[in-house]
């Protein structure tokens, strides 16, 4: 994840990079809520939301190709949406050479536009906030300390665990392990077991190291800049747009 995240962060010094993480997380969450509750017929509301995301992506320093490539991450999750118009029942309409369900078309549109807008919003967050900052922001938003610690340790050790897994795989391949069929899966299963035990033991060693430096059960909060009125104002403007659009959508449709 750390490795992946180095690629996720857009290296630029935009005003969005400079905002406090907790305000950005809250804004992303609320923006997505606004998008999610917008009635699907309010096409113009989605257009407004989309415009906001495009502007934010541009300000965050995303290039067009970069943004599109990352947006593509949403594709596996929405492929089934393309099938909905064909399998839904109800009134049929002709689109190009196909006869599809009108209701199904709306359902597909609903899923796709909301998924794409949600992904766009998280791209803005991920591109402008390093993971340690995200973790810190979650803590300030009163996410339970245990959850924050788990995310933080996961970030710290995932690289190490992935490396270890890679070395184990190399060791297996070097001894002519070439799994093709299901019944050859046993070594992989035992490697996974070994990984689990190793990670568990590492956990114990890390805990010992924490105790040695006076850890008493709660992670100390270290000094960092907290979100001020300016951070909140700028960040909350974004969900205000999507939620207003949703409300207007309800009123007009």
């Amino acid at each position: 994840m750390a490795g992946a995240h180095r690629h996720l962060l857009v290296h630029a010094h935009s005003p969005i990079h400079a905002l406090a993480p907790e305000a950005k997380i809250a804004a992303t969450f609320l923006f997505v809520v606004g998008v999610a509750v917008t009635p699907r017929e309010a096409v113009w509301a989605f257009a407004v939301d989309g415009l906001v995301i495009l502007v934010l992506l541009a300000v965050a320093g995303y290039g067009l190709r970069q943004a599109l490539a990352r947006l593509a991450a949403v594709l596996p999750f929405i492929t089934f949406a393309f099938l909905v118009p064909f399998v839904s029942s109800g009134e049929r309409v002709d689109v190009l050479w196909f006869s599809v369900s009108r209701d199904g078309l709306w359902a597909a549109w609903n899923i796709i536009v909301k998924a794409v807008l949600g992904t766009g919003a998280s791209l803005v967050l991920a591109g402008t906030t390093p993971i340690p900052e995200v973790v810190r922001g979650l803590g300030r938003l009163r996410v339970p300390a245990v959850v924050v610690s788990i995310v933080s340790f996961m970030f710290r050790y995932l690289d190490l665990i992935v490396d270890e897994m890679g070395r184990m795989r190399t060791a297996m391949v070097s001894r002519a392990h070439d799994p093709r069929w299901l019944w050859q899966a046993k070594p992989i299963a035992s490697a996974a077991g070994a990984m689990f035990v190793r990670s568990y033991e590492r956990g114990e060693r890390v805990h010992a190291a924490m105790l040695a430096r006076g850890f008493s059960g709660t992670m100390p909060e270290l000094e960092h800049r907290r979100a001020g009125a300016r951070d909140w104002t700028w960040c909350l403007l974004v969900p205000v747009v999507s939620i207003s659009a949703a409300v207007a959508g309800f009123a007009l449709t």
């Binding site: 750390a2 340690p132 933080s152």
Partner: protein, 248 residues
């Protein structure tokens, strides 16, 4: 003057009954630098984990600058004993070097400005000031080791305990580490099976074998005793002659 570290009659067995330490006693004077030598499995790491109470005392007593190791003193003992673990990846667990170095001072509940000062001081002592904002898992082996030492220096310990500090270091990293440790005016216990490193750093050594101290004396003398070394699975690198270097 009270000894920096006094270990008396320490015995320890892990659940399952394997006796790892057996009546181990060791006294380290203030300002001394002592190497604890021994083969793999001699109980060196288990011994180290007793010095700051990570492992609970079963038999025997440990005293750090006059303060006995007991539940009530654990916090102060852990401040006095700076423990540098064998694998730096186990020791550096925070998202950035700066936060990792601040972890100890924060646990001591020092005021924020004092924490910031401690971090700067500790990183400067190991010449790692420019690493402050890096993520620990992106550092090289030598850098990780130096930062790991900074994390305990930030607690201003009286006694530095290093478990296999040279493992995984290249020769240049090893030399830099030696220079760093020589520059620190602290009582040090260096646990290692790297005999030339012990000779370079520590005027005095003890050999731990079978969970107890079997020899205690000037490092150059112990390392010249080939029979003693052989009896406890210790070996000098090929061609290395401690007598040729003279006393340090």
């Amino acid at each position: 003057m009270t000894a920096a570290l006094a270990v008396d009659g320490l015995s320890f067995s892990y659940p399952g009954g394997r006796l790892v330490l057996h009546d181990l006693s060791l006294t380290v004077e203030q300002g001394e630098r002592v190497a604890v030598l021994g083969p793999n499995g001699a109980g060196k790491t288990t011994f180290a984990l007793h010095l700051n109470g990570v492992l609970e005392l079963q038999t025997g007593a440990v005293t750090v600058s006059g303060l006995p190791l007991a539940k009530a003193n654990l916090r102060e003992i852990r401040r006095r004993v700076g423990m540098v673990f064998q694998n730096a990846d186990d020791q550096l667990f925070m998202p950035s070097v700066r936060e990792d170095v601040a972890f100890g001072p924060a646990n001591l509940q020092l005021p924020k400005d004092e924490q910031v000062a401690r971090v700067a001081e500790a990183l400067a002592a190991v010449e790692a000031t420019e690493l402050a904002d890096r993520a620990p898992h992106h550092l090289s082996g030598g850098e990780k080791r130096r930062v790991a030492i900074a994390t305990v220096l930030a607690m201003r310990p009286d006694l530095l305990v290093l478990d296999e500090p040279t493992s995984g270091l290249d020769p240049a990293g090893r030399r830099e580490l030696a220079n760093l440790l020589l520059s620190l005016p602290l009582t040090q216990v260096v646990i290692t099976h790297d005999l030339p490193f012990a000779l370079e750093l520590c005027p005095r050594s003890v050999i731990v074998s079978g969970g107890t101290v079997v020899a205690d004396g000037p490092t150059s003398e112990l390392l010249s005793n080939t029979g003693l070394l052989a009896a406890h699975r210790l070996e000098l690198p090929f061609g290395f002659d401690p007598r040729a270097l003279g006393d340090r």
